[in-house]
């Protein structure tokens, strides 16, 4: 690791304060949403006993997956020794921690009894992937923080190899755990597959890089600079590669579910008859989330491509999480089932305002933590524009 000078983000007040006000408003809205949900009960949300996980879980999954993916740049710099990315490694690590904090804050504050969260650590169930994820999340923050310290403080530089490799391995284990949250659900045949582990790893690489591509120019804008053009183009091409792999996994799961008899009717519903869900798949995931960003990268517009990827990511996760619940469970396979509770029919779900603001609040937590970290610690390269810097080195590498 070469010696690089880092500093606090020197944001222009005229740009910083509007950002702080917007983030503060989003945090306030999220806090009010939590207050309403926790005092009134979850009946104020759109979630029901047929669809117990809703929009907050979709946003939380997006942020948690993005967290491990946001570490991409740091890992490319520290594990694969690509010097061109070294100036942005601390920013990448801080973004990873901030995104995880945002995602976890949503999950925790959506609990029916968040005051009992410590029970997950006091007496964890070793058979529960949720309990394991508490260890994985905590470990991710601790290892990434340690990596950050060894990266920035020369006194601990001798541990740099250990922390960077540990962070690299841990992020894969973390995302494996996140994917298996859904993959181990035998009750949901369309989800019940080990492929969710590698698929979510590919999602994390894609979503995290897309968020990085959006946040980096925003941070540069705050300080009055702009990220290096060559670096953004290079990351854009990497985003296209990750996106193609993600879509491959997703296409395989949908094709498999369409072929397999037990999941065929659900898959037909999703792809062709599901009204909003069908639109979300073809327009949200395929057109906006896959085809458009690939074209935008080809047209050398990586930021716009990243924005499209984020929208497509939300559509993709919404479909995996919500449709698997809304579609009726085959309690009596082969029979047409009805009941006063709605068995046999597709459950309706529409996110309420409280859910929307809870999700928005989680995003605000992530961005506020990132902004605070950049302002308080020497995380960003002295000149963010130069950060992306070694254009010559990049061009040479390309």
């Amino acid at each position: 690791m070469t010696a690089i000078a880092f500093d606090n983000l020197t944001a222009s007040p005229r740009r910083l304060w509007p950002a702080v006000i917007v983030l503060g408003a989003a945090l306030l809205a999220g806090g009010l949403a939590v207050l309403v949900i926790e005092t009134q009960g979850h009946h104020v949300t759109g979630m029901t006993n047929r669809v117990p996980w809703g929009l907050p879980h979709v946003v939380a999954y997006f942020l948690i997956l993005s967290a491990s993916g946001a570490l991409n740049v740091a890992m490319v710099a520290s594990v694969f020794r690509q010097k061109a990315y070294e100036p942005l490694a601390p920013f990448s690590a801080l973004l990873a921690i901030a995104l995880l904090a945002g995602g976890l804050s949503i999950l925790v504050l959506d609990l029916g009894r968040p005051d009992r969260l410590t029970l997950t650590m006091q007496s964890p169930n070793p058979r529960s992937i949720f309990a394991w994820n508490v260890v994985l999340y905590t470990g991710f923050v601790a290892i990434t923080a340690a990596y950050l310290v060894t990266l920035l403080d020369r006194r601990f530089a001798r541990f740099f190899g250990v922390t960077s490799n540990a962070a690299f391995l841990w992020r894969f284990v973390l995302t494996t755990g996140t994917g298996l949250d859904l993959g181990i659900l035998i009750a949901r045949e369309e989800l019940n597959s080990a492929v969710f582990a590698p698929m979510f790893i590919s999602f994390s690489l894609t979503f995290g890089l897309a968020v990085f591509l959006l946040v980096l120019p925003a941070a540069a804008w705050l300080s009055g600079g702009a990220p290096d053009h060559a670096l953004m183009q290079r990351l854009g091409r990497l985003l296209a590669l990750f996106l193609a792999v993600s879509f491959y996994f997703s296409a395989v799961t949908h094709a498999f579910n369409l072929y397999a008899v037990p999941t065929r009717s659900l898959e037909r519903f999703l792809l062709f008859q599901g009204d909003l869900y069908t639109v979300l798949f073809w327009v949200g995931q395929v057109l906006l989330g896959t085809v458009t960003p690939l074209l935008l990268v080809y047209r050398k517009q990586p930021i716009a491509a990243a924005a499209a990827v984020v929208l497509g990511a939300l559509a993709t996760l919404y479909l995996y999480v919500i449709v698997s619940q809304a579609y009726p469970q085959p309690v009596l396979p082969g029979l047409q089932v009805t009941s006063a509770w709605g068995d046999g029919s597709v459950a309706s779900y529409g996110p309420s305002a409280a859910e929307f603001f809870l999700g928005l609040g989680g995003v605000a937590v992530a961005l506020a933590a990132l902004l605070a970290g950049c302002l308080l610690f020497r995380i960003v390269p002295i000149d963010l524009a130069r950060a992306a810097a070694p254009s010559a080195a990049l061009r040479a590498a390309a």
Binding site: H43, N49, G112, P114, N125, V331, D343
Partner: protein, 242 residues
């Protein structure tokens, strides 16, 4: 001169015929004597495996006595929008699209030997008692709803509203998970679950581990099936006539 019919003799005759039928075939009507109670202070043990046998051919059209009995016993109230309110037991109407045959079947927690809801619970709030009754410790539940996601039968619920008229024998709390308890408070006293008591003849409760128990004899003689048997969850609730 017209004489009043001797109703007492008729009743005695009916009882005698019923007893004879049960002696010949206990599965003709699903009626079992109350199970043995467990002395106070003695923990549940795996020597017993409580189970339910439901004869769907005897589930009468329009009857919801089992649902009403459960609701009254535990204090939950259904009737809200579909899927919103907890409904510990509900009656499914199922039709075979090929033959047109229709049946009705009460559905409640299946009390699996290998419950997926307990597997996923991060705090062990959902647990399987030694006698295979699956319960929720409301004081440990954090309300993550992972158990609701994991149940293949849609019989685990989350209480998203305040409870005003809770029953002391059946603790419930906003923000926690809940479901059929197999009326543990009753069976520990040697009584039948409320639904079984309300529906004699179509539902039988007993010890699946006891080869001489009526439920075991009926299962051994006539068989029954578990819902979604391919999942191999070893449910305590089994169905005859599906």
């Amino acid at each position: 001169m017209r004489t009043e019919p001797d109703t007492g003799r008729r009743k005695a005759l009916k009882l005698a015929l019923g007893a004879a039928a049960l002696a010949v075939d206990p599965g003709l009507f699903l009626i079992a004597a109350p199970a043995q109670s467990r002395p106070a202070g003695v923990a549940a043990s795996d020597s017993q495996r409580w189970g339910l046998l439901i004869d769907v051919s005897r589930c009468a059209e329009g009857c919801t006595r089992c649902v009403q009995a459960c609701s009254a016993e535990h204090g939950w109230r259904g009737g809200g929008p579909p899927g919103l309110d907890p409904q510990w037991i509900r009656v499914l109407s199922a039709t075979d699209p090929e033959t047109g045959r229709s049946v009705r079947a009460p559905l409640m927690c299946q009390h699996c030997a290998r419950p997926p809801c307990a597997d996923v619970c991060p705090t062990k709030a959902t647990f399987r008692r030694a006698d295979s009754v699956v319960l929720v410790d409301r004081h440990r539940c954090i309300g993550c709803r992972y158990c609701v996601m994991a149940c293949p039968f849609g019989v685990r619920f989350f209480l998203g509203d305040n409870v005003s008229d809770r029953e002391r024998r059946s603790p419930r709390g906003k923000g926690t998970a809940e479901g059929c308890t197999l009326c543990v408070h009753r069976i520990d006293e040697g009584r039948q679950p409320a639904c079984v008591e309300a529906c004699p003849g179509a539902m039988m409760f007993g010890d699946l581990n006891d080869p001489k128990s009526p439920i075991r004899e009926v299962l051994a003689g006539q068989g029954a099936r578990r819902l979604r048997g391919n999942l191999a969850l070893g449910q305590g609730v089994q169905y005859r006539g599906l």
